[in-house]
Symmetry: C2
């Protein structure tokens, strides 16, 4: 079979060019006689790989010098604990904005370690919008304010960062990581699992302002969850997920070669526009999210009829449009159109939707 | 360049046949049109991969039904915390046998969570032997006794398990994992990072007797470090290191095809015999470990002259014998001869050593 168009929410499509390079070098990386998977993480070859990856992500996001970049394991979920363990160290209090399952899980985990306050929630409408964040009940005694910047399940995205009233902002950017330029200096911590928009699963990248990397952590914090452990050793305190770091490094080079995040932002906006424009005129399909809060990465849509949704998902799969089924809490469909999804994939999806609509609209 | 013989202690050599299969399927796994790196961990394709991996490791190690197999992230180091957090729940006390750096690090981490008692140590002779473990000061109020079964840095291995006087045994088997048959029922927990003898870095496999998987964990245990979290979800609580699970699965199939762990034990014993026999008659090189405690996996040796060691390492590298330099705390050389190291690699090493000795022995 040839390659399909893979609309999976994550793990997700990777650039074909990157996969081909990894394939070519799989048994013999750059003539060194071994696979990247077989290299000591202490070798000069791997050191070149991880240093280049860090340098390239710093270039892509224009990361200020006073931020550390950490390549960690355990997924975003592990950071749900690491964030309060490392940051709830002054007032043992933080504010969380609840825009979906992931933000809510992060909030519940933080409650183990201190006073995690729900500042706002969009649960009343199945998280189909981003709450007004211009004047939230944020107080000086909060160690940070937490958001999930793009909500994979619900297809919402913050187009403006919350007014945190001077309190440090922490953002889970898993599903919009490297989708567009972001001003890192506006965040205290920006972090994300790479398995959505960046690389293979098993790696989370934390970008942390260096004054937050400290020994003042929650009592009983495991050595591996203390940010300082890995920061002091440039992510090589113990053996990292070397293969994922290598793959992300290849993706970073692919992004740089293709115009960086400015070019990616344009391409992503164009892809999203094609899909949303179709949805806005369709008589069968409709989007589930308030227009002002629509994500450029994850596009949920429904027909309003469960059987029709199921028929669409099955026929789309048969046509090489894979993983288009929506999350069970939203139902219907979801197209995740990350960086590596070509415009042709979105065009094919829209063409297929138009054709399906013609055949099925009564 | 053709493939080298890679004696790295980990990440380490993988079977060439396995790497070739991964390479062939990299862009299109079994005709599904996508890479394993691009698959949803909730897809039926990945479900087949992880279920097959679990089934095959159960077959290889003959794992009893009352043991859970977990595929986790964070390396053995993260388990250094998870073990006391999950197991020091009755008496908040455990015994540790200190046979090297890794056992000592595990012991120090456990001290965060309870009374971790050093039962014995071989530090007096740079961990070059395994202490007598027939009558250690183990008491009924210990929640477990902990060992590192094969010591990667020092090249020692337990050939008999300690007499734990009825207390549960926990073993880090990272560097001897799947090197030979082991009786899982003698352990409460057997676990190891896979990046030495099994697969690529970023995955640790825990084999845990199911009565130890409980809600009675240390207060403040992160959700991700509580074994029950992943046990309840068959290692899919959040996105795992899918690629590493896939690669380990291929290695398990390679092991089964090649006669399982019985055949591997014979092959490994033969490889180690070739190298130790050479060391025992050499006038230039000598092993650093008490003969009775020698590891079949990691073989440290020295000339006794630092300059000569460095010359050997450099010339070996030039001859395609890579990563033979010893750990800085032992010095000299170390040949890690894991499952995937062919006998021809060890023979070439010994031939090279004999030739080097002839040229350099004054």
């Amino acid at each position: 079979m040839s390659r399909v168009y893979n609309f999976s929410a994550g793990p997700a499509v990777l650039p074909e060019e990157v996969l081909k390079e990894a394939q070519a070098d799989l048994l013999d990386y750059k003539g060194c006689g071994m696979s990247v998977m077989e290299m000591s993480h202490r070798s000069s070859m791997f050191d070149d790989i991880i240093k280049a990856a860090e340098k390239d992500i710093r270039t892509l996001l224009n990361i200020p010098d006073n931020y550390k970049v950490l390549f960690l394991q355990g997924g975003a979920y592990q950071q749900f604990a690491a964030i309060p363990m490392n940051m709830m160290n002054k007032h043992h209090k933080a504010g969380y904005i609840l825009t979906g399952q992931w933000a809510t899980k992060a909030w519940k985990e933080a409650k183990i370690y201190g006073d995690a306050v729900a500042l706002a929630s969009s649960e009343d409408k199945t998280y189909s919008y981003i709450p007004d964040c211009s004047d939230l009940p944020i107080t000086d005694d909060m160690d940070y304010v937490y958001i999930c910047q793009n909500n994979t399940i619900y297809g919402t995205e913050y187009w403006e960062l919350p007014n945190t009233k001077g309190v440090d902002l922490v953002a889970d950017v898993s599903s919009c990581f490297l989708s567009k330029p972001m001003d890192v200096s506006k965040y205290a911590v920006m972090y994300g699992g790479v398995q959505k928009n960046v690389g293979p699963a098993g790696l989370v990248i934390d970008i942390i302002r260096d004054d937050l990397i400290t020994d003042e952590v929650y009592p009983g914090t495991p050595t591996m969850l203390k940010w300082k452990t890995q920061a002091d050793k440039d992510s090589l305190f113990n053996t990292p997920n070397c293969w994922a770091i290598y793959m992300c490094g290849l993706v970073f080079k692919w992004l740089l070669k293709n115009g960086g995040l400015e070019a990616m932002e344009k391409k992503n906006a164009e892809k999203a526009r094609i899909l949303y424009d179709f949805l806005d005129q369709s008589k069968l399909f409709k989007g589930t999210v308030e227009k002002k809060d629509r994500s450029v990465m994850n596009v949920p849509f429904v027909t309003g009829d469960k059987d029709m949704d199921a028929k669409f998902v099955a026929e789309a799969k048969a046509a090489g449009l894979e993983n288009i089924k929506g999350h069970r809490t939203v139902g219907g469909m979801r197209a995740s159109i990350y960086n590596a999804m070509p415009k042709a994939g979105v065009e094919k999806l829209v063409e297929f939707m138009a054709d399906f609509e013609k055949k099925n609209l009564k």
